[in-house]
Amino acid sequence: MIAASEALNQLSSGWFLDHAYLIPIVPAVCFFIIILFGKRLPMKGSEVGVLSMVASLVLAGGTAMQWIDRVNSASEGQFISPVVHTWNWWQIGGMKFTIGQSIDGLAVIVLVVVAFISTLVQIYSLEYLRGDRRYTHFFAALTLFSAGMLAMVIAEDTILLLLGWEIMGLCSFMLIGHWWEDGANSRAALKAFFTVRTGDMGLLVGISMLYFASNDWTTENLGVSGFSIRGISAWALSGEPNSTVILVVSIALFIAAIGKSGQFPLHTWLPDAMAGPTPVSSLLHSSTMVVAGVFLVSRLYPVFFTGFDILGTGGNFITIIGGITIVIAAALAFVQNDIKKVLAYSTVSQLGYMMLGLGAGAWLPAVFHIFTHAFFKACLFLGAGSISHSASHHSFDMKKDMGGLRKVMPITFTTWIISTLALCGVFPFSGFFSKDEIIDNVGNNGYNTFMIIGLIGAFMTAAYMTRATYLTFFGTARGASAGEHHDEHDAHDAHDSHDSHAAASPHESGLLITVPLMILAVLALSSGFLNATPFGEKWELIKKWVEPSSAVVMETAPGGPGHSAALSLPKAEEGHHESPCGSETPEEGVCYAPQLQHAKFKWSKAAISLGIVFFGMLSSWFVCVALYTKKDKRLVGLTQRNGALRAGYKLLDNKYYLDTLYENVIVKAIAGPIAAGAYWFNNNILDGILHLVARVSRTVSGWVYRNIDQRVVDGTVNNSGRATRGVGGILQPVQSGKVSQYGALLFSAAAVAALVLVIINS
């Protein structure tokens, strides 16, 4: 039924695409350079770090450009095969382990994001960490981290993916624990590494199961080992795997994603990870590392697609986890005083959005959200860093040390406002094009309940971000930003040496900090237009470049880019290509990506969500104004001193202050008890379980060690020693020293022996 397919164009390729493997190699080599010669270099290794990042950025940019040409050169509906180069790493017991690069749309977009953000953060930390004791170590770890992340992104096989994944885990451990003199930091680093590591167990088990399940199919059909991601994706969609195996594999891999991207059960480490220096938080814990989990799900999307049967059901494991994360993270953000904790919880909540999108089949919006979220979240974090760096003497406490900074730090303020609007998803900003797109597609794909959760999430995001903005930039200056000099320094006094020059009063940070802020703010504003679905088809560039085409690929030359027969695609209504992949398995040929629907953009739906967002902002603004500036005694401490006695009085009051109570019901009700409850739940139950497990395993191991090891096993050994000595004791009297006794014994024995002999012989 293959119609006369249009002539298949030869896909253009280029130097950058073919040598994309250099992108991770350059920072890796620079890591060793910094480690070995860092101390002796003029700028103590930081210039090597920045240069390596710039080089990777250039390479990534080149790869992106050439990938775009490649996409344009392909004809309508033709399968754009990824650029794959593999090398034989090692071979053991008939199993070939290959290592190599596989560049497709997803890889390109994440490459660009990671390289770009890493470069900006390294430039930013030139200033931020000047004078720090382990300046070189910091840059070494940052470069190694970028190498790990980039290696993971371009990985063609799951082993390299695992390698990159673990290296990132290691670097996050080193970077969070950068100022490890103070116990809290090292504990946070340890906690981060444990939680991620427990997630990695899922990855380890998932990869081995995937390998053994898919190996024979992939080697026979595609000539690639069971480790290669393309092979696995094709195998997942080929209807070959039995449902239980692929379900178990998807759950195992998703556990790893939960661990890394801080989703619901394993998110407790992310807010504590704020103990690390701000550039680390902005790079690792907002835009790159935590996205690795989302990247894993999107990379191996076919496995999850069949595993959780995404288009089939109304809600699956991923969406549930995503939904829960959105809500509880947003609720927690209300209660925080530390600005970085607010941003951390907001990251967790945005990751919840991405997971929700992926779980509900909105693959492209989720990936696009990674793209946009990276920019405005990094900008927010760097903004927080600049505030602490130049205004509030390294304290991040909004209530104590900030307030009224809009006049004093104009650039930081404007960039902060732009990014906040982008985060909340206000129309012209990038957040709108990605977050609303997710909510829209989730609803379209039949996950209505989760769409509502998304909307609630959007509302709460708007609310807590306004509260945070109000506390930092509006109202009266408090604490350090009001010029008082703190006597006690908080955790980050380690690099106090360079504070001598900064005048006590808050001021705008230096160029090295504000320039990255401005770049990121511009991107936060403009990046949305790359995939502006509201403005019609031709604006959706990212969709064209990034979304893996789900055409059926006929025979594929093993290893090489397979040429695809563009099937005559039944013309579904405009904007959709109905191809067999995903809905049912193709008879012959192979699919690499499932066929996903795209919600038709309608302004009516967009208006609803915009309305909700504005409403959230306004209500939160009024509450903040009432609570923090006018110190309205009714509101202040309302939640603290509620008692039975006052209940009657309040009931009367209500009739008069219906609107304020209404606000309390909507804003405070949602913010107060749930957030406090969630926070309590979060600290006591989840962390409690963790500590309980640690204590139990310690006591069990103590008991096991003392009883089984010492008493039982060692005991038997020592007892056998004592037993032999006992027997020796019994026999000792025989050795009496009396010669005659020996003679007697000798002869009596001889007599007995003779007797026995005689009896036997006769």
């Binding site: 053991i92 090292s186 590591r197 380890l204 103590g702 060690y705």
Partner: protein, 522 residues
């Protein structure tokens, strides 16, 4: 598998060169320290040179077949011949034993433990090296047994004389435990000898007609060998000698013990027990796997409960050897190569950890974790090496440890046919859980020892420096010194190189293991 008999002098020279060194040392007067050290150093360098020469002459594309084979009469009466040869399995350990001995000799140039007397110390070390090298090249059961026992004596004296406080108990326990094991092993060897028609003790001969023995007889013979080797590995129920031996042994003793002596057990399994008795191996495999997995979890729990750093490292090697034995118990060539790689990797990594423990004890005079702390502030370089070693030990990909554990876990997923698949998959999940526990106890150790501020009693030197920016402004704890650097850098480089390019080892091991397991394919 045919045998290449060219240059068969190489192996004998490599094994008995240390004995020449011993003779030289005997002549040298006891007082003249410098000369003793020079002789010991020169002998170990020469031995390593011979080892490297063997490495080059070894033609890798025939790694499966026995090479440098030498076979001449030794004790004709009991039909045991001086039959030696090396193939892909024994070569890595053979060369590793020489490398480790050289590093230990360099380390002890300025680290002779308490009762001094370097002459006896070096003599014991060289005798130990001969024993170890001999065990790996012996292709005749009696020769193997002789070298297997030869190794015991010097180690007993090393622990007994130069050990810690209750070294008598530890050395005696170590000696008796292993003697008990090897006694049963000898019984098994003899039974094997008689059961195969009392022809000869040569391993290739036994491999051919080992299979002919009746199944349940095989199982009993395998039982004897199992106990003999399991004591050495050590596997779960027979491991109690290891923590005592390690805590009391001097640094040099524990490094050699951990790096090489533990591998004699697993090498014995791979070289003798499994190829000669295939049915018994199949019958025993699930039990060995079970014990290995218990060992992993038990070792990890043991580590979590420890207060002494060296004892913790000892328990961690129980856990690591669990992975190796899991790889062996799958009876697939994938599993076996993983086990072999694990042995070499564990040797390097745990050897490094014991070197560090020794240096820390030498500077802080204690290994009580509660009293240690702030290592990174006082000795940054030592701290980061400890960090790297523990990362390698917990199996971080990109370092040697990972390629020992991950393939073992992977191979447990589908063991050889005839083995119960679900049981091994349960083992796989438990082993994966083991990696998490490994991360737990190692990082917890690293956090308590390296991070934070040094404890009051050792912080004496620390706050002397005004700005503690420069890191080590105090004299009391001098960081890694010259000898330690020379001894440690080869290990560190090897760990990284084997981590990045595991093919160096696998190309050697894989064909050999393939040859060994031919018995199972049929």
């Amino acid at each position: 598998m045919e045998m290449l008999r060219d240059e068969n002098w190489v192996l004998s020279v490599g094994t008995f060169l240390p004995m020449v060194g011993v003779l030289l040392l005997l002549i040298v007067p006891k007082a003249n320290d410098q000369l003793i050290k020079m002789v010991a150093l020169f002998t170990s360098i020469a031995t390593l040179a011979v080892g490297v020469f063997t490495l080059f002459k070894f033609n890798f594309d025939q790694a499966g077949s026995m090479q440098f084979v030498a076979e001449n009469k030794w004790i004709p009466l009991i039909k045991s011949s001086y039959f030696i040869g090396v193939d892909g399995i024994s070569l890595p350990m053979y060369v590793l034993s020489m490398v480790i001995t050289l590093l230990v000799v360099i380390y002890s140039l300025n680290h002779i433990p308490s009762p001094g007397n370097p002459k006896a110390f070096f003599i014991l070390m060289l005798v130990l090296q001969t024993g170890m090298a001999g065990t790996f090249i012996a292709q005749d059961l009696i020769l193997f047994f002789v070298f297997f026992e030869l190794v015991l004596l010097p180690m007993y004296f090393m622990i007994g004389v130069w050990g810690g406080e209750n070294r008598q108990y530890a050395s005696l326990k170590f000696f008796l435990y292993t003697m008990f094991g090897s006694a049963l092993m000898l019984v098994a060897f003899l039974a094997l000898f008689f059961k195969t028609g009392a022809e000869s003790f040569a391993i290739p001969y036994l491999v051919e007609n080992g299979g002919a023995i009746a199944r349940n007889v095989q199982i009993w013979i395998f039982a004897g060998m199992f106990i003999g080797f399991a004591v050495k590995v050590p596997m779960f129920p027979f491991h109690t000698w290891l923590p005592d031996a390690h805590t009391q042994a001097p640094t040099q003793g524990s490094v050699i013990l951990a790096a090489i002596l533990l591998k004699l057990g697993t090498y014995g399994f791979i070289r003798i027990a499994i190829p000669i008795l295939p049915e018994a191996a199949k019958a025993w495999a699930p039990y060995i796997g079970g014990l290995a997995v218990i060992g992993i979890i038990y070792g990890a729990l043991g580590c979590l409960a420890q207060t002494d750093m060296k004892r913790l490292i000892a328990f961690s090697s129980v856990a690591h050897m669990g992975y190796v034995m899991l790889g062996v118990s799958t009876l697939t060539d994938f599993g076996m190569s993983a086990a072999m790689f694990g042995m070499v990797a564990h040797g390097l990594i745990t050897g490094m950890l014991f070197f560090l423990a020794g240096s820390i004890k030498e500077r802080y005079h204690t290994l009580e974790i509660s009293r240690l702390g702030g290592l990174l502030t006082q000795m940054p370089r030592m701290g980061w090496i400890l960090g790297m070693a523990s990362m390698a030990s917990l199996g971080l990909p990109g370092l040697a440890g990972f390629w020992g554990e991950f393939p073992a876990i992977l191979s447990a997923y589908n063991p050889a046919d005839g083995l119960n698949v679900t049981v091994f998959r349960v083992y796989m999940v438990i082993a994966a859980l083991g990696t998490v526990l490994a991360a737990a106890y190692l990082l917890w150790l690293f956090q308590r020892v390296a991070f934070g501020e040094p404890k009051a009693e050792f912080a004496g030197g620390a706050h002397g420096a005004d700005d503690h920016g420069s890191g080590h402004g105090h004299s009391q704890f001098e960081d890694v010194n010259k000898f330690e650097w020379i001894a440690w850098t080869p290990l560190l480089i090897a760990i990284v190189v084997f981590g990045v390019v595991p093919n160096l080892l696998f190309s050697m091991i894989d064909p050999a293991v393939h040859g060994i397991l031919a018995g199972f394919k049929g």
